[in-house]
């Protein structure tokens, strides 16, 4: 199964649905979906690694926490995650190295401010050939 994502409707906010063959493969399309919600996000310049080490109770929580990290890196540091190298993704632990590049303000067009990645309707489930996850982001 090729990693993919789609956005879906929620009354005031937006939903993200991600599919991939493995749990680690969910991360990259989830990040892309988040940037898609924000707008046309372009990055440039030198790459800088960021290590993450997340503890949770289930994969859905870890995926939410991962996206919260991606959002913080964007919001606080004006940086964009360009690739993710996952070392561990178990039911309760996620470690990864993210490559980040600076947000290119001139080439980007930002349309929506994502306030947070919520726990509302948060879900990761097995589907034939892989996994499907859904999350709602607060706008």
């Amino acid at each position: 199964m090729e990693p993919s994502y789609e956005l879906f409707d929620h009354t005031a906010d937006m939903g993200i649905r991600v599919r991939a063959a493995t749990l680690p493969d969910l991360l990259a399309p989830a990040g892309e979906a988040l940037y898609d919600v924000i707008g046309d996000v372009k990055a440039g310049g030198d790459s800088e690694p960021v290590s993450i080490n997340l503890i949770g109770e289930e994969p859905a929580e870890l995926l939410r926490d991962y996206l919260a990290e991606v959002l913080t890196i964007f919001d606080r540091d004006a940086r964009v995650v360009t690739s993710v190298d996952v070392a561990t993704f178990t039911n309760d632990h996620l470690t990864a190295t993210l490559q980040t590049a600076i947000l290119d303000d001139r080439r980007s067009a930002l349309h929506r401010e994502v306030k947070a990645i919520t726990y509302h309707e948060l879900d990761v489930r097995s589907i034939p050939g892989g996994f499907e996850a859904s999350l709602i982001v607060d706008i």
Binding site: T11, F74, I139
Partner: protein, 486 residues
């Protein structure tokens, strides 16, 4: 999206509906939704009534789990939700009952300018506001504060920034809670919350946040309008924003920190987003303190923008803000939890009142009101949409009896953002607004499409429900003529 609500909704009268506590095991009180026969049909289209029922399960909840007529689906609590809990009876506080944008709110400025003074140059005025008031996704402010100053902002809210010269002394009195929550604890905030918000005080943000120039189109209550300096044909300015990245992170941190609290205190919850802790527990006090700091940040944020609006108007019209009468009518929070006193079973009791997309609406004579409004009641500011109108109301005594002194906060969304974008295909919302006499400009490409008038309920219908229920009374209708969106 999950389908329509299928549970019970019993008609109480022309303006309210009951979800009986027998609906779901665990409900401690009934749910009450304010809506008329028309609005209730749109309410049933999503799961927001189910959320009203879920909130009724919170420990210590008093009287009812309430929803205002601008109710729509949120997370944990619905938007438009009001719930009061009694800390002395194990009552809880829930970040989901406040929302991510802590102390998102509205303020309204009066002017003695008229339509004739403003309309011919509206496009240039909006441009001037765009240049003066920072807005848009993640934008930092033009006024920078050191770490120490930021700490003062979180402790003293509007007071600190007015002392620094960003406003008038009278602004403080015309702000809910005088623009400061006293028990704020900036030391309870994470480093990440500080970092996300440190340069955003004095910025509008994006989404449904706006700065709007309006004309007073109709006065319904001349006495109250006169107390607020609202004159038919005069211009008003509305500012809608909140606590920016700082507040969003405080909420996100709190939901995580409270993760284990329900288990620790034996609280069963139907929805993770309703995570909570007893108000009097260390966890509850910690959230209350952090939320207070974010609320103070939000009041300082709107106060600085008020200063910037005065500066922009002053430069644009080459006249002092004082001469234009650019004074604050009132500032209300609509995402907050506060300790307030209400009569419960014949006794005055201090309750923790959650308002998530709901506005405080104290009646005449309430001790927390400034002298200016003592005889008329608290101004309640209810923005509608970009194309129709907004309303100024006042609180009524029955709000204290029935809704914990609360009222609606807006029109309430009807369409999802995606549906609004699809509905805007092939149309120019900007052009359509212009045809209605509104000059609107947004920094983001999708802003006007997602916020188009049709995406919202008709605010008049929403306001009328509460007027007819005698929770609030209409004072004035304001028509937008210039809109700035982030």
């Amino acid at each position: 999206m999950p389908g329509p609500y299928k549970g019970p909704l019993e008609r109480i009268d022309d303006t309210s509906w009951r979800i009986p506590k027998s609906y779901k095991p665990g409900m401690r009180v009934d749910g009450i939704i304010y809506a008329d026969d028309v609005l209730i049909e749109s309410v049933k289209q999503d799961q927001s009534p189910e959320q009203v029922a879920n909130v009724a399960m919170l420990p210590g909840i008093v009287k009812h789990s309430l929803a205002m007529p601008d109710i729509h689906w949120g997370y944990g609590f619905c938007i438009g939700g009001v719930a009061a809990t009694n800390p002395k009876q194990g009552g809880v506080i829930s970040p989901g009952g406040v929302g991510y944008d802590i102390n998102c709110g509205v303020r309204l400025l009066s002017t003695n300018l008229t339509l004739k003074d403003v309309q011919p140059r509206m496009e240039q005025l909006i441009e001037k506001l765009f240049k003066t008031v920072p807005c848009g996704v993640g934008r930092g402010g033009i006024i920078k504060f050191s770490k120490k100053e930021l700490h003062r902002i979180m402790v003293d809210g509007s007071h600190y920034v007015v002392d620094r010269g960003f406003g008038w002394k009278s602004d403080i009195e015309m702000t809910e809670a005088s623009g400061r929550i006293d028990n704020a604890r900036p030391d309870f905030l994470s480093q990440r919350a500080i970092e996300r918000g440190h340069d955003q005080c004095g910025t509008l943000g994006s989404g449904n946040h706006f700065l709007e120039i309006q004309v007073v189109e109709r006065i319904d209550d001349p006495q109250a309008a006169s107390a607020m300096d609202l004159v038919e044909g005069n211009i008003t300015v509305a500012i809608h924003s909140g606590s920016r990245g700082l507040g969003y992170q405080v909420c996100d941190d709190a939901i995580k920190e409270l993760h284990n609290a329900p288990r620790k205190y034996g609280i069963e919850l139907p929805d993770k987003q309703l995570v909570c802790a007893p108000v009097e527990s260390p966890e509850g006090q910690r959230y209350l303190g952090a939320m207070g700091a974010a609320a103070n940040f939000a009041w300082a944020n709107r106060q600085i923008m008020t200063h910037l609006v005065r500066q922009a108007f002053s430069e644009f019209f080459d006249m002092s803000a004082e001469r234009m009468g650019l004074s604050l009518i009132y500032d209300v929070a609509h995402n907050i939890a506060k300790m307030e006193s209400y009569e419960v079973d014949g006794r005055m009791t201090e309750l923790c009142v959650h308002r998530k997309g709901a506005t405080r609406a104290f009646p005449a004579g309430h001790p927390e009101l400034p002298d200016r409004y003592k005889s008329i009641g608290q101004p309640v500011l209810v923005p509608g949409d970009m194309g129709r109108s907004s309303y100024v109301l006042v609180g009524r005594p029955s709000a204290m009896e029935n809704t914990f002194g609360s009222c609606c906060h807006g029109a309430g969304r009807l369409m999802s953002r995606g549906a609004a974008i699809r509905a805007a295909k092939g149309r120019s919302i900007k052009r359509e607004l212009l045809d209605r006499g509104v000059i609107a400009k947004a920094r983001g490409r999708t802003g006007l499409d997602e916020e188009q008038p049709e995406a919202y309920k008709d605010v008049l219908q929403v306001v009328d429900v509460l007027h007819n229920a005698d929770i609030s009374r209409r004072v004035a209708r304001l028509r937008p003529i210039g809109v700035m969106k982030g």
